[in-house]
């Protein structure tokens, strides 16, 4: 049976989807192992780091794969398709929310951590920086946040992002540029030059 498992590990995502359509449970297990973690991280970032909601979205997405595997076009890339589905799920959720939900650790948004005592506070400052980065990412506009997360965190190419989001590559590049500049600007309080 170990030989069978190795067969599934060597199969492509598209081949696994075809096997799932035939009722192959091990193919589904392999596909879940490959994409459940990255998708959970994507939903966490896109849904204000709400763990419960992100878990539900992962469950719903794979439930769609179980019930309607024929929805996947085998001529397309599975990775592009699954993130397209995830993106649409997040858009629907945004529409339901009247007020954007954000995480907070009690810090004032305008709180500055500029401190010349770098050596003593460096570790604490790193933690604050990470929190600030996450908050800035959450505050990004959805379309920019999606492009930034898919490109830099999920590792999709410009072309794959354009297929998943159904936009042209030029739009992807411009949104990526804007998101990167916004994050860099929002983190200028940490003043990386003086903090070295």
């Amino acid at each position: 049976m170990r030989l069978i498992r190795q067969q599934h590990k060597a199969m492509t995502d598209e081949s696994l989807m075809i096997a799932i359509s035939s009722g192959d449970k091990r193919a589904f297990d392999e596909l879940y192992a490959r994409y459940s973690g990255p998708l959970l991280g994507y939903f966490m970032r896109m849904l204000w780091r709400d763990r419960e909601k992100a878990e539900d979205f992962v469950h719903d997405l794979f439930a769609k794969i179980v019930h309607k595997p024929e929805y996947f076009d085998t001529t397309r890339s599975f990775k592009t398709w699954v993130y397209s589905v995830a993106n649409n799920m997040c858009k629907n959720e945004y529409k339901k929310q009247e007020v954007r939900k954000g995480t907070t650790n009690g810090l004032d948004n305008h709180y500055s951590l500029y401190d010349k005592s770098v050596n003593v506070m460096s570790e604490v400052q790193d933690n604050f920086f990470q929190e600030a980065f996450q908050k800035s990412l959450a505050n990004l506009d959805e379309k920019h946040k999606e492009v930034f997360a898919l490109r830099h965190i999920e590792g999709l190419s410009i072309k794959e992002i354009s297929e998943a989001m159904e936009i042209n590559e030029g739009t992807v590049k411009s949104r990526l540029f804007y998101a990167t500049k916004y994050l860099a600007e929002s983190l200028k309080d940490f003043n990386p030059i003086e903090n070295r």
Partner: protein, 236 residues
């Protein structure tokens, strides 16, 4: 171009940038401060990619497994057969490397070779023959008591209904008269376990002279004829 920007920002310092690189990425940064801010963003992204690895809860997987089972419960045997067939008959391999065909070829070879192996066996079974004791007569003055329930040789003796002249390997010489007496002795007949005689036919030759070989066959245990038994042991 995007990949070049990340590589340059992550691997170089601002002072190490060439003029052409600064010109190419003018829209991204112009000052060292902007350059460093960009580097912070990319560094943080790398940290998120390596450290923020989320693992869904087991309850999520269990729920999906139940959902899958309810959807594909009717096709469960197909799953098993499909898995076995993939191992025994992989389509991506050439025909001679498929395990199922290899096993089938071995079975066919064994079936073809087996009949030849059977015909080559040497049949070494002894021929079953009845045990008879034959006595060889000749014109000598040997004692009639020296009747030897000769151990028959299987190759030379055989049981037949009609009288047969049987030659023995170790003849016990007897008188014709003693043979006659022996053959007609009722006591001997009574003691004998099995008697067959045809000497009367030979003696009753119309010419009264019998020069051939006649044989009286009877079987009797050696214990009833100790003298003969001694002769046998002496011979051997």
């Amino acid at each position: 171009m995007k990949e070049d920007l990340i590589d340059i920002v992550m691997t170089k310092e601002f002072v190490e940038l060439t003029e052409s690189e600064r010109h190419d990425f003018t829209e991204w940064f112009t000052t060292q401060e902007e350059f460093e801010q960009m580097k912070q963003v990319f560094l943080e992204v790398e940290r998120i990619k390596t450290k923020d690895r989320f693992v869904p809860r087991q309850a999520t997987k269990d729920s999906l497994d139940a959902l899958f089972a309810s959807k594909h419960s009717k096709t469960a045997p197909t799953i098993w057969y499909n898995s076995v067939l993939v191992a025994l008959y992989p389509k991506e391999k050439p025909a001679f490397q498929r395990p199922l065909l290899q096993v089938a070829a071995i079975v066919v070879l064994l079936l073809l070779v087996y009949p030849f192996l059977n015909t080559m066996k040497v049949k070494d079974e002894p021929v079953q023959m009845s045990r008879t004791e034959s006595v060889h007569e000749s014109k000598t003055n040997e004692s009639a008591d020296n009747v030897d329930p000769v151990v028959p040789t299987p190759a030379e003796t055989k049981v037949v209904e009609s009288p047969v002249l049987v030659a023995q390997e170790t003849p016990i010489l007897m008188d014709v008269e003693s043979v006659t007496e022996m053959s007609v002795s009722e006591e001997r007949l009574a003691e004998a376990e099995d008697v067959s005689t045809f000497s009367s036919a030979a003696i009753a030759h119309p010419d009264g002279i019998f020069t051939g070989v006649s044989a009286v066959t009877y079987s009797q245990s050696a214990a009833k004829q100790p003298a003969i038994f001694d002769l046998l042991t002496a011979t051997f």
